[in-house]
């Protein structure tokens, strides 16, 4: 029993972390004009070339054959830099295509040719089925012709080009967002919930991004508290700031260790035993993501509320991720029933 990453795992962490820090750091958002896309085609190609889309997919499906454990370690580092949501859409999309036997589409996604938007029901009544009805919201439609919609009942992959998309501004300015209404829309690929729990995978990967974000904002606050002076002292010496940072650290420890534990459960003990653990992860990770992002803004004071500092991207992303998994607080019911 060991909850410390081993050397192989550390290697993945380091590789993803250094690529993200060098190529896709959160600071890049500052220089993007309003309405610019999250990623250029060149940036996307770099991500694709690293093989991240297929990292956790079985080799027989064209993936690298790693497990969910490696996948959460990757997404945690991606989340630390508010990395591309398109990666999450494509990772889940490729999995749905693979499981539904759509190998051509799967390969297009793995090769980066097709990107996959993430769709969520705009009202809670909708549910995944082979024919879809209802209002949806889609994240990342600017360069995607496919979208994936996931819930407890299953996961569907469908084409978006026949849809009437209404673009709306997203909380994250560089993330394209559209609403659409589906009427008996045919799914290209449909995976029932019981076959492979795509919902669980989406939940834990999004949670990993939340954990990365929570850790990044903790680190930003701590670094600032060690350099910013007020009233002739480093602000980190004031308990009002120190204790905010301590609480951020506790939320990280809570969410991160539970993320590790639940991913190991999923890998080694199966979905039945892992389901509750992942529900706990989802709640704690979203709480850490949102509350640490908020605390980080407060620690930075005035500069924290500007668009110039990266702090707000973490807050916005934390809200988006929470909706991507259909609201982490709904998972609390799974822990009681």
């Amino acid at each position: 029993m060991n909850l410390q990453p081993n050397s192989d795992e550390v290697q993945i962490i380091d590789a993803v972390a250094s690529f993200m820090a060098e190529q896709l750091p959160v600071s890049r958002y500052r220089d993007l004009t309003e309405g610019a896309a999250q990623l250029t085609p060149e940036e996307w190609q770099k991500v694709v070339d690293l093989g991240w889309i297929g990292l956790g997919l079985e080799e027989q499906h064209g993936g690298l054959g790693c497990s969910v454990v490696e996948e959460i370690l990757m997404f945690r580092e991606v989340g630390r830099q508010v990395g591309p949501l398109a990666l999450l859409g494509s990772v889940i999309g490729a999995r749905v295509a693979a499981l539904a036997g759509q190998s051509e589409l799967r390969d297009s996604i793995l090769s980066g040719k097709e990107r996959v938007a993430i769709a969520i029901p705009a009202e809670v009544s909708m549910s995944a089925a082979s024919r879809l009805d209802g209002a949806i919201q889609l994240f990342g439609t600017d360069s995607a012709c496919y979208a994936v919609l996931v819930d407890q009942n299953g996961a569907v992959l469908f084409e978006t080009d026949s849809l009437l998309l209404s673009k709306v501004p997203c909380l994250e300015r560089h993330l394209s967002l559209a609403t659409a209404t589906l009427k008996q829309h045919t799914a290209i690929a449909y995976v029932e919930g019981a076959l492979d729990p795509v919902a669980v995978r989406l939940t834990i990967l999004a949670s990993a991004m939340q954990v990365g974000g929570a850790e990044a904002t903790r680190d930003m606050s701590v670094a600032y508290a060690k350099e910013r002076q007020q009233f002739g002292q480093l602000i980190g010496s004031f308990q009002a700031i120190k204790h905010i940072c301590a609480d951020m650290a506790v939320r990280c420890e809570e969410a991160c260790t539970q993320l590790f534990y639940s991913s190991l459960c999923l890998r080694d003990r199966g979905i039945v035993e892992a389901r509750r653990e992942i529900a706990a992860t989802a709640f704690l990770a979203a709480r850490a993501g949102i509350e640490n992002a908020a605390a980080n803004i407060q620690v930075h004071g005035g500069i924290g509320m500007t668009a110039e500092l990266a702090a707000h991207w973490y807050l916005k992303r934390a809200h988006v991720l929470d909706q991507v998994i259909g609201n982490s607080r709904r998972q609390l019911d799974l822990l009681v029933i």
Partner: protein, 388 residues
């Protein structure tokens, strides 16, 4: 204790309500930019012409010379009528004007006060600095006396509407060799003076009304110093004590309206946390009730503060309680709104509209004008008497 208003006050309320009903602008206030300044000063001029500007200002400067209670009534009716936020004229009317009335010399008052009241000019605040933050008195913008002028070099930040203001209440360090509170002067700065550069700052909720201001050998006549030279900290304390004041009542009523609106929203929309309408969710419904209770209390707190001020003659440190409470309730309301919106929370609403943009905006309320941490220090030290 009583909740009664005198006959005069009641009559005043009726007049205010009737006038506002007829005259509140039908079109929404533009959120920012030149158009918002034009809108704000036009509306100020309209109020001035009808005799509603400067209700508690002395009549010799164009005010009505009435009591705090009347001003409170004005703000209550103002918010109830849905009248627009003061915006560009806020600093002149609520901070600069009252400070000048108390501290300026006759020439300064005669020149500036009527212009402010008529909406001919707008003012901005030049207090905060990047390295000072909550520790306002540690400001570094230097002013050196050169003949009958001050020569100012330095930088200010968080100046609302700085791009559109004609004048600024500017704090400068005129003596660097004494303890930090003792070498500060409060001066009137004409924003068109050469050497001033204004750079708008974008904030996380969108919008650019905060600015950074740079001073490069800016020459300000010594006659623009308000109070004495190096006595600026005392003047500043007066300015800060006016911040919001009775105007808080308008914010409070605004917030109550938002809660009612949010409750209606929850009644009409599905719950993002389960089945049924949002309002049928026990947790959401109770949180709506909680912010409702807290906003009621906010009104009571403001009324109590005004009652106290009436007997002592000036605002006390209790304003920190109002400020802290207001920021907490406001942030809770908008956080609740995000939870009620569910998926739609990811859509950015227009500036000043809807819920997600104001939610992001609400993060400023525990930072601007002194962080929540500083407010708690003030409450602890100045109200409860705890050691520094």
């Amino acid at each position: 204790m009583d909740l009664d208003f005198t006959q005069t006050e009641k009559l005043f309320r009726e007049q205010v309500a009737a006038w506002l009903h007829e005259n509140v602008p039908k079109e929404p206030r533009p959120y920012e930019g030149d158009v918002s300044r034009a809108f704000d000063v036009a509306w100020q001029r309209k109020m001035y012409d009808a005799g509603w500007a400067g209700i508690a200002w002395p009549s010799e400067f164009g005010g009505r010379g009435l009591a705090t209670m009347q001003q409170l009534i004005w703000y209550e009716e103002y918010a109830k009528a849905g009248a627009p936020w003061a915006g560009n004229v806020f600093v002149g009317i609520n901070l600069a004007g009252p400070t000048l009335i108390l501290e300026a010399n006759e020439d300064q008052k005669a020149f500036h006060l009527p212009k402010i009241l008529r909406g001919e000019v707008t003012w901005c605040q030049g207090f905060s600095e990047p390295s000072a933050g909550s520790d306002l008195a540690s400001l570094r913008t230097r002013a050196v006396i050169d003949g009958d002028h001050l020569v100012v070099n330095g930088q200010k930040i968080w100046t609302s509407f700085g791009s559109h203001a004609q004048y600024q209440m500017l704090l400068v360090r005129t003596n660097p060799d004494v303890p930090k509170h003792k070498g500060i002067s409060w001066v009137i700065c004409d924003m068109s003076t050469p050497g001033i550069t204004v750079r708008p700052i974008e904030i996380m909720s969108g919008g650019h009304h905060f600015c950074e201001i740079f001073y490069d050998d800016v020459r300000i006549p010594l006659s623009n110093v308000v109070g004495k030279i190096n006595d600026g900290w005392r003047v500043t304390m007066a300015t800060l004590s006016f911040e919001r004041g009775t105007a808080f009542m308008a914010d409070c009523i605004e917030l109550e309206k938002k809660i009612v609106e949010l409750t209606e929203h929850a009644r009409m929309h599905s719950s993002p946390l389960g089945s049924g309408k949002a309002i049928d969710d026990d947790e959401i419904r109770r949180r709506l009730g909680q912010v409702r209770a807290e906003s009621s209390a906010l009104r009571s707190i403001i009324l109590a503060a005004i009652s106290r001020n009436e007997s002592t003659g000036k605002p006390g440190p209790e304003s920190s309680i109002v400020r802290l409470h207001f920021s907490q309730v406001q942030q809770r309301v908008f956080k609740l709104a995000m939870d009620i919106l569910g998926p739609a929370q990811t859509i950015m609403s227009e500036l000043g509209q809807g819920w997600s943009q104001p939610y992001l905006r609400s993060y400023a309320s525990s930072i601007a004008g002194g962080t929540a941490q500083v407010q708690r220090n003030i409450i602890g030290e100045r109200i409860l008497g705890l050691p520094k």
